[in-house]
Symmetry: C2
Subunit: 491 residues, 2 copies
């Protein structure tokens, strides 16, 4: 067996174990009996310990060294790039630091949940301080003298830097804030009212999943408190949620998760259970969920079809016609909560988190000043005041569990979705005539071929650049949002 | 850290991974999308490879050697016994033989299923030959010069020998055959007819599970083609099945699996995720499922209560009263299939498999002669002729997947259940008055205290001997069956 074969055999087994760990996570959120949490914690820790040992395995270093400079094709080189990155990442962080981070963040999540329940940021501040200290230490180990925040970003979006994101987001922010202000000053479209049978929502949501190309023979749809997609390759499961008053939440959660899941299901099957057999980054992943959910799912053409589906399922629900339904689906309302934000305001929520967490990591912002900084920034961008920490600085779980560098990938995904949507429209000029019939296949086929099938073959930025035929830019997203919301709001 | 602490930390992590692998098995039978089978195969193989590497880990051998002769309490000694057994077992079988067995049995299961579908034993015979050759080779490696079949038994029932089972089963067989013949010559009780709503069956089956002490906060009930129990400790799940015509199948599958699950749930929590934290053997496990299902669940007193429950749920279903219902539940009918057999005939099915597989392993019976040997033995014990291989030698999956030494644990479990039932009745003389009210707690409490809580602390035989106050014997089971069926059938 050559070094490459040996390395790939090892990597395949590791990827299979990654899938197992992911399946445990799915089970925990959907099926696990509530009394099993403590045991599950030990099971997950054991899997993590096995995976860590495999990543730092000295044989991996040996095989990699042996293959250094070897004449390999692009696919093999990409496999090596992923394996080397994972090996380096795991090897750079001292085991006792990794263990401390695991322990502290595991407890911090509980502390955060309590503090949020009590609307008491001060109760969470010391814990957050500890998490930041440890994550900064980890970032320094990873950065090796370079920028600490960039090293953190590399966990989620390899090849992207804080400076690049700052430039991109800096261009977005004033435009989004201005568009938001104009929209909020205009008359609001109708709001959905009444109740919608939850079993019927699940029935329609499964139809929507299939409509967007979700492959049920390699997946399933269940309910979870927070919808998510889980798994790669031949077993990619999604979850959604229902609320009688808000069927859009169910439908658009499903379409969003189908975007993530379709990415994983549509990767070239030659990459199955190899490092190339997973979505390449959080940003590219989010580009798929967002373009499914927003640019396609919330388009005038597709919502026209959805309106008919909802009428068939629920009868007259008080929205007069397709145009009113389109405006209703895309209604812009004031709100504190990122996860409930509409397409127009969502990025403003993310941009402030990016600036705040980057300042925290750089030491330019102290935890003691974080709540005030959050509230000031929120008022500046949204025009009203945060009423309580659970609607403000305590709303997201991310920081408590050590996810620094993760937030910006949400907006990067939206930017990427904007780029892909522009290219898609140009490649499929008559897309709307298909969407109006509930046929998303010209869009999902294009995305499969140009983005999803590649898996981890190209670097994240290059995936988008190849599909777009130009470097990623925030301009298409901005143009799309401006056009969409000025039309809906008659600006 | 002492050698014992290090060994136990390692063992805990191994046990956690065993639970993870078990959860994958549960998922495969209940939730997994059908297109995921190939990927799941790789995931399971990766888990097996990790577990095998942990079991043969040289550090385990080192810790065990260091602890040889150490002054440890009974609990610690029992932990060491299990760890040593598992380490020895894994170390004795050459890796390439283990890999060949895994590969051949994995394919053999498919070959068996096809042959069964085609009712063609000859199509399966060469594969079975190959499985037997490999398993015999494994048995020789494990036996180290001793009896090969005994070495196989040790995988499922440590401490039991083929000779002991032969003596026990030899005493059972003529008595059971004679009782069977007498019963079949008498008038049969009424048979259940009509259809029973399957959702209502699931509702009542969940009530039955709780009635038998199944802890839903540490478990859940789903449907599966072949009911099973899965997991240990804080997460023990069961499955059942429904058929509109046969609600007893649903209810008694559930009660059977609750017996297995209660054993796992009721083990001393100090043993959680250690080698003592699992049921000690297949035989003792089956004693719990069988005593729940038969001696308690099919008793006159309990069926009286169940009759009322079924009347409440399904209305009048054509059985006149509790006595008729009791007879109906315990009806003895001719049948080819082990898994559908009643309490009286079940062991006759198992005893023939024990004799046949032992002869196969000893080389006293050739695969070419197996079908004829099966059919002859069946006719001798049951009084009628096997009509086709799928009703005969091809009915069970066990041999195709290499499970030799497993079948006898079913009957050993029944024998153990007989012993425990005798002791339970003597400890709780008024048990029937509780069962008649649907209160199984005096029985399940006794079993928890005397059997289940011990987990792997004692050797299987000793668990039963301690609970019974005497060595295990087939006599109580025989006496119980004689009394029960002569009464029902008025012999």
């Amino acid at each position: 067996m050559t070094a490459f074969d040996a390395l790939m055999a090892h990597a395949r087994e590791t990827q299979a174990l990654v899938q197992v760990a992911g399946r445990l996570g799915w089970d925990q959120e959907t099926m696990m009996p509530r009394g099993a949490a403590r045991q599950r914690g030990e099971e997950m820790a054991a899997m993590e310990s096995v995976l860590h040992a495999r990543r730092v395995d000295a044989r991996v270093a040996g095989w990699l060294a042996e293959l250094d400079g070897a004449d390999l094709d692009a696919q093999a080189q990409a496999q090596l790039r992923h394996i080397r990155r994972s090996h380096d990442r795991a090897s750079k962080v001292p085991a006792d630091l990794a263990a401390r981070i695991a322990r502290v963040t595991s407890e911090a999540q509980g502390t955060w949940a309590e503090a949020r329940g009590a609307d008491d940021f001060a109760a969470f501040a010391p814990t957050l301080e500890e998490v930041i200290t440890l994550k900064r230490e980890e970032g320094q180990a990873l950065a090796n003298g370079g920028d600490v925040y960039d090293a953190m970003l590399a966990d989620y979006e390899p090849g992207t830097t804080g400076a690049e994101l700052e430039a991109m987001f800096g261009a977005l922010r004033p435009e989004l804030a201005a568009l938001r202000a104009a929209v909020r000053a205009a008359d609001a479209p109708p709001k959905l009212s009444g109740t919608f049978d939850e079993a019927a929502q699940m029935k329609l949501t499964r139809k929507l999943a299939r409509t967007f190309g979700y492959d049920m023979t390699h997946g399933r749809v269940d309910k979870a408190v927070h919808p998510f997609s889980s798994g790669s390759g031949l077993d990619v499961r999604i979850t959604t949620r229902t609320s009688a008053e808000d069927p859009f939440n169910c439908f658009y959660s499903t379409i969003h998760e189908v975007g993530h899941a379709a990415y994983e299901q549509n990767i070239n099957r030659d990459y199955l259970l190899t490092p190339l057999g997973e979505g390449v980054s959080m940003g590219v992943h989010e580009s798929q969920s967002r373009i499914y959910e927003n640019q396609i799912g919330r388009s005038r053409a597709f919502t026209g079809w959805l309106y008919g589906q909802m009428r068939d399922m629920f009868g007259d629900f008080g929205i007069a016609d397709e145009d009113a339904f389109y405006a209703c689906v895309n209604r812009v309302s004031d709100g504190y909560i990122r996860t409930e934000a509409d397409e127009l305001q969502y990025n403003l929520h993310v941009l402030m988190r990016f600036d705040l967490e980057r300042a925290l990591m750089a030491g330019d912002l102290q935890v003691a000043d974080l709540e005030a900084a959050w509230n000031d920034r929120f008022e500046a961008d949204f025009g009203f005041v945060v009423d309580k920490p659970s609607n403000g600085v305590l709303q997201d779980v991310h920081w408590s569990v050590g996810l620094f560098g993760y937030f910006p990938t949400y907006s990067l995904g939206n930017v990427y979705a904007g780029c892909l949507h522009e290219a898609l429209r140009s490649a499929v000029p008559d897309l709307d005539s298909h969407l109006a019939q509930g046929d998303t296949s010209p869009a999902t086929d294009w995305l499969r071929e140009n983005v999803q099938s590649h898996g981890g073959l190209y670097e994240p930025r290059d995936v988008i650049a190849r599909a777009r035929g130009a470097d990623p830019s925030e301009a298409p997203l901005l143009a799309y949002l401006r056009e969409k919301f000025t039309t809906i709001y008659g600006l």
